[in-house]
Symmetry: C2
Subunit: 217 residues, 2 copies
């Protein structure tokens, strides 16, 4: 049996590996799940005993095949529940993350597969993140970050990296939603802020915002 806490650690490691190096540091995990490095070390030993992570003292950690499957399954549940909340219960995309953090730990294969079918097998969650299939396979997003494109380029907003309600509320306020066409009008060299056009209106977004937006060209 994998506990809720273990699932959270596996998920954190999965996400950290995905967006960085092949091995994850104790401190990075501690920061990610708001705990202390010593707690992380404790847990890594336990996960290593269960052969869910490869861990050698001072060397960082990564998931085993078994650990990766469990993590992907938790992420699958998280994202499917988010779709359910938005599509069926009329939640807004900035309200779903915390509830999904709870629902992702419900244990029932049948339940999550029925939810999947009920939602007609969605490919992405409300934030544009791909949903792993029941074997843990996940499609790669080939959307590009707004910081990496040049003036005149345009595309459709496909993915937001930060799913915090504060960031999503900012997007709501500025009329930015998945599926909207975005055109880069100007890039300010001084602070990398970007002027974009969305729905016939022009707005300026900071580098910090742009870094979290991804479009399909």
């Amino acid at each position: 049996m994998v506990t809720q806490s273990e699932e959270n650690y596996l998920k954190a490691i999965y996400h950290l590996v995905k967006q960085g190096s092949s091995v994850v540091s104790t401190n990075a995990i501690a920061k990610k799940i708001h705990t202390k490095a010593s707690s992380v070390t404790d847990m890594l030993k336990k996960l290593a005993d269960k052969e869910l992570v490869d861990y050698k003292k001072y060397q960082g950690v990564c998931l085993t095949k078994k650990g990766k499957i469990i993590a992907a399954n938790v992420i699958r549940k998280h994202r499917l529940w988010e779709v359910f909340l938005v599509e069926k219960l009329k939640f807004s995309w900035d309200e779903v993350h915390d509830i999904a953090e709870q629902l992702e730990h419900i244990k029932s294969e049948k339940l999550i597969n029925e939810i999947d079918a009920f939602l007609e097998f969605p490919s992405h969650d409300p934030h544009g993140d791909p949903i792993p299939d029941r074997h843990g396979n996940i499609v790669k997003n080939n959307s590009v970050n707004l910081l990496e494109i040049k003036i005149g380029d345009e595309g459709v907003l496909a993915h937001v990296k930060d799913s915090s309600d504060i960031f999503l509320k900012y997007l709501n306020k500025n009329n930015l939603a998945l599926g909207y066409k975005i055109k880069v009008i100007d890039i300010e060299p001084f602070d990398s802020s970007i002027k974009i056009e969305v729905k016939a209106k022009q707005i300026v977004i900071s580098k910090n915002v742009a870094k979290n937006l991804f479009i399909n060209i």
Copy 2:
């Protein structure tokens, strides 16, 4: 904050009070949630500190107003999730209890109220148990037990007391489902077994089965 374990104790006390005396014994709780009496005593002290139960040593325990509201809310969630699983995800009534045991602990007022609306405010769960409203109010079932009626009486199966999958599978096998009309054909004085007619077929059910079936006359 009320923990998952505390919620389970409150729910157990709620159910035991409902079907018996005004005060519940340590042993009864222990049996109900498959734990030991000493664990129950520990927990009762904690719940008393939080003013969720009235507890005096050796005197049994009952819920305070606060405790009753929390318990009713957990039961509300349990039953609404059961309806969701059966009505929306095509689960059978014998598959939902264990999953609802997990889902009943998800914390989000909005979530459960949206589920309620999504299901169009059901009054009863798949086993005929009434669903408390958001304030903890619950309608009384006025269905009568099959053991309490006489030959020739008839009514509609409205409620099953035992929700275990083994009992529900027995009912499936014998073509007994909520809403079906039942007529008492004969009562055997020796063992209180009852011959009933359902859907134009006659079957004999034991006293043990009859004790768990309730009909609206």
